[in-house]
């Protein structure tokens, strides 16, 4: 326990400078304001309340684990002139069995002294932390001539989900990369593919990875563009998107949140919205092969709210179910979210097993709340300790997969609204997973 110097009271109140007191009030009013809290921590440290500063910095780190300023401050607070009976500051990590050398951590992120992952040779981990990507074992076939910008997400960064990658490959990536192949199989590049699945399971992420592969040959139409189409001249807007794609063919247009862009026309009174859907239909149909070389990728987590006309042959007629991340995907996601956090011999395999059915967002949440509990624990006991497997497993147990409500609804459409076999893939999955 970090003992308190007698002259610095722990909580707010007597003896504190008015500035600190008012900052405390401000922080209490805006608990998410990180700079404000850091400012408070700085002042506390300056006033000699090192432990209070540690607690504030810990709270910042629980919100923003990567925050360099908070880390540095934490390191300084730990090293601050502490009460006489305290061990010398910045004790070497080896000597404090449960402690953590924040200075070393600040110098070398992710290279703490205890092994970060249990039962895992450092060699395997090194490339992961180096580029923050998962699944290093996979040789990306796209590296060769991909025009993606440096730092962009690549398909190799998408952990696991081999089936999804294969389908994307067959649908448009291979024909796009290889015009000879297209000629050979007489496979023209057109039409579309609709990604659907529970929220937070990587649809947008996969599309970003595809964009990373294709560079300029990928056009992203986001919800903000859609908002503009609703009020502006949607004909021109949508037409321009497709014209650009046609000029740049072979090209992929990505329509995220298709439930907004292509909402059921019967459900809305809004003219702008209906026009947008109509225009999208016109552009998808195209005349005289203008759409040759233009592929439309779309994503939604409520496919049943998408206008049915958009799913007709020649349009977004193929569907691809993006399920909650499988084992390797979960491992990659967990790796990513733990990469900047102080962790100690985390048994990733165990954690992966305990998080079956979790979405990418759920996994981020697990890491977050594990960090929170570890840091609050540290603030409470005064001994800063690292996040361990127990924190993570505890957090995982406390969270129910957020995908459950989606599957409940998906079950209803798969069973009762499966016209034309639209949801066959989903139905097969539900059967296999015994969720029917």
């Amino acid at each position: 326990m970090l003992d308190q110097p007698t002259n610095t009271p722990a909580g707010p109140g007597a003896g504190e400078s008015p500035l600190i007191a008012s900052l405390r009030t401000a922080v209490a009013a805006a608990p998410q304001d990180i700079p404000l809290r850091l400012h408070l921590a700085e002042l506390l440290l300056g006033a000699g309340s090192a432990d209070a500063a540690v607690a504030e910095a810990a709270l910042v780190l629980s919100q923003a684990p990567g925050d360099a300023q908070a880390r540095a401050l934490m390191a300084r607070a730990m090293a601050a002139p502490v009460p006489m009976e305290q061990a010398p500051p910045a004790a070497p990590a080896e000597q404090q069995s449960g402690g953590f050398d924040w200075e070393a951590a600040a110098r070398e992120v992710g290279d703490a002294v205890p092994p970060r992952f249990a039962a895992e040779p450092d060699v395997k981990e090194a490339p992961l932390t180096a580029d923050g990507s998962g699944d290093p074992g996979e040789a990306p076939a796209y590296d060769v001539d991909a025009p993606g910008a440096p730092g962009a997400v690549r398909l190799a960064d998408v952990g696991g989900m081999q089936e999804v990658k294969d389908r994307l490959e067959a649908a448009f990536l291979a024909p796009m990369r290889n015009p000879e192949l297209r000629k050979l199989y007489g496979k023209s590049l057109r039409g579309g593919l609709l990604l659907y699945g529970p929220p937070g399971c990587g649809k947008t992420f996969i599309a970003r990875a595809v964009a990373g592969e294709l560079g300029a040959n990928f056009i992203n139409v986001s919800i903000n563009d859609v908002l503009d189409m609703w009020v502006g001249n949607s004909e021109r807007n949508m037409h321009e998107v497709f014209e650009t794609a046609r000029r740049q063919a072979p090209c992929v247009i990505f329509l995220d949140e298709l439930d907004a862009l292509g909402a059921k026309r019967s459900r809305t009174q809004h003219n702008g919205m209906r026009n947008t859907v109509n225009q999208l239909l016109t552009e998808l149909d195209g005349v005289n092969d203008v759409n040759d070389g233009v592929f439309v990728l779309a994503a939604t987590n409520v496919p049943w709210d998408v206008d049915i006309a958009l799913r007709r042959p020649g349009r977004l007629d193929r569907t691809l179910l993006v399920l909650p991340p499988d084992g390797p995907a979960r491992e990659a996601i967990l790796h990513y979210h733990l990469r900047e956090r102080p962790i100690e011999s985390v048994d990733l395999a165990k954690l992966v097993k305990a998080t079956d059915g979790f979405s990418g967002a759920d996994l981020a949440h697990v890491c977050e709340s594990a960090a929170e509990s570890a840091l609050l624990d540290s603030a409470r006991t005064g001994t800063v300790r690292m996040i361990n497997t127990r924190d993570l497993l505890g957090a995982a147990k406390a969270i129910r997969p957020s995908t459950e409500p989606w599957f409940a609804a998906a079950r209803n459409v798969a069973m009762f609204a499966n016209e034309g076999g639209m949801y066959d893939e989903l139905l097969a999955y539900l059967k296999k997973a015994r969720k029917l």
Partner: protein, 366 residues
């Protein structure tokens, strides 16, 4: 007065259509920060609050509108409902009267009046009348039919309720509320201990439920609809036991399991009679179960299997039906030379089945 709504307000309106209320509200807040005199923006904001049931905020937003224009119809419309939900009936009625004063020929004014009048039981007949006027003025408005349905409910007019639901489905065959109501009516029709005709009514109820679930798979009522669908298919499944009992009786008669008359007939029963009994049993199954099963919608059939997989008692029913039928087949096919074994088989198949039927009836009654 502004002519065309501002760009941000337009976008917010579209977002509200998609039920993306938070995003809509953010856009409206941005617009109102720019121009706090945008009446349309205030009204849309009030609708957003109404959507998330924050009625006090509806009043606050419409106060802003009325400060800008005391004759704004939309403000009174929102306030009629907000006051009613907040349990302030007099103010609700006053707002409704303002609507009627401003636009006496609008269906919404009468529907609003009907809603406001609903606060006083003695005035329910008036509410029904107002809603009927609303429907007359807006025959293609589901909201008007909904108001009529509600007033009919309060006045105990079942005929009008069903009519309002049917009209709503004519306007929008996928309307979630109307489909839900229709399913409830179908369930009511299939409820009650009816010996004949329950089969068709049950499958109609099950189909109505699957329609409702298909139209609104995520709706809050979906959970209840699933449960009711389970109940409907379970009742269908349960019906098969009567078929097996019938088969058992046919087998017992054809195989002469019980001595009849004063002169006990000889054993074994003639092969022709027994084969005839077997044919009868197949007919019972073929017409009573197989044909009916084939006639069910794919979704209902799937629900049946889902129920059998999930619920142990449903599995018990299936095993009982299968077991009893097998016993009946054995009884009718084996050329028994004495009566003890087939009699034991008969009772062993019959008694537990009857007991579970009795037990189920007792359980559903309590």
């Amino acid at each position: 007065m502004t002519t065309a709504p501002h760009r941000l307000v337009e976008q917010a309106t579209a977002l509200m259509d998609l039920k993306r209320i938070d995003e809509a509200r953010a856009l409206l807040a941005r617009r109102l920060a720019e121009d706090p005199t945008d009446i349309v923006a205030w009204l849309r904001l009030a609708s957003c609050h109404e959507e998330v049931r924050d009625y006090q905020e509806v009043l606050n937003a419409t106060n802003q509108v009325l400060a800008l224009n005391p004759e704004e119809y939309g403000a009174y419309l929102r306030r009629t409902y907000a006051f009613r939900r907040l349990g302030r009936p007099d103010e609700s009625l006053a707002a409704a009267h303002e609507m009627l004063r401003l636009e006496p020929e609008s269906w919404q004014s009468h529907v609003g009046l009907s809603e406001a009048l609903g606060a006083w039981q003695p005035r329910w007949p008036e509410a029904l009348e107002a809603a009927a006027t609303g429907v007359r003025l807006g025959p293609d408005q589901i909201a008007a039919h909904y108001a009529l349905w509600k007033a009919a409910l309060m006045n105990g007019r079942v005929d009008l309720q069903r009519q309002a639901v049917a009209e709503s489905l004519r306007i929008d065959p996928h309307n979630a509320w109307a489909l839900d109501q229709r399913a409830k009516y179908a369930e009511m029709d299939a409820a009650g201990p009816r010996l004949t005709g329950a089969g068709a009514r049950l499958s109609a109820a099950a189909e109505a439920l699957t329609d409702a679930l298909a139209a609104a798979p995520q709706a809050p009522q979906a959970d209840r609809q699933r449960k009711h669908l389970d109940v409907a298919v379970f009742r269908m499944l349960r019906g098969t036991r009567w078929l097996t009992l019938l088969c058992l009786v046919i087998a017992a008669l054809a195989a002469r399991v019980f001595p009849t008359g004063s002169d006990p007939t000889a054993l074994p029963g003639p092969l022709a009679t027994r084969l005839y009994g077997l044919a009868l049993m197949s007919a019972v199954w073929g017409f009573g179960a197989w044909r009916r099963y084939r006639g069910l919608r794919a979704g209902v059939r799937m629900s049946l299997w889902s129920l059998v997989r999930r619920v142990g008692w449903a599995r018990l029913v299936v095993w009982q039906s299968v077991g009893c039928t097998l016993v009946a087949v054995v009884v009718v096919l084996v050329p028994w030379s004495e009566r003890t074994v087939p009699q034991v088989l008969f009772w062993v198949a019959l008694v537990p089945t009857l007991l579970t039927i009795w037990f189920e009836r007792a359980a559903t009654r309590s």
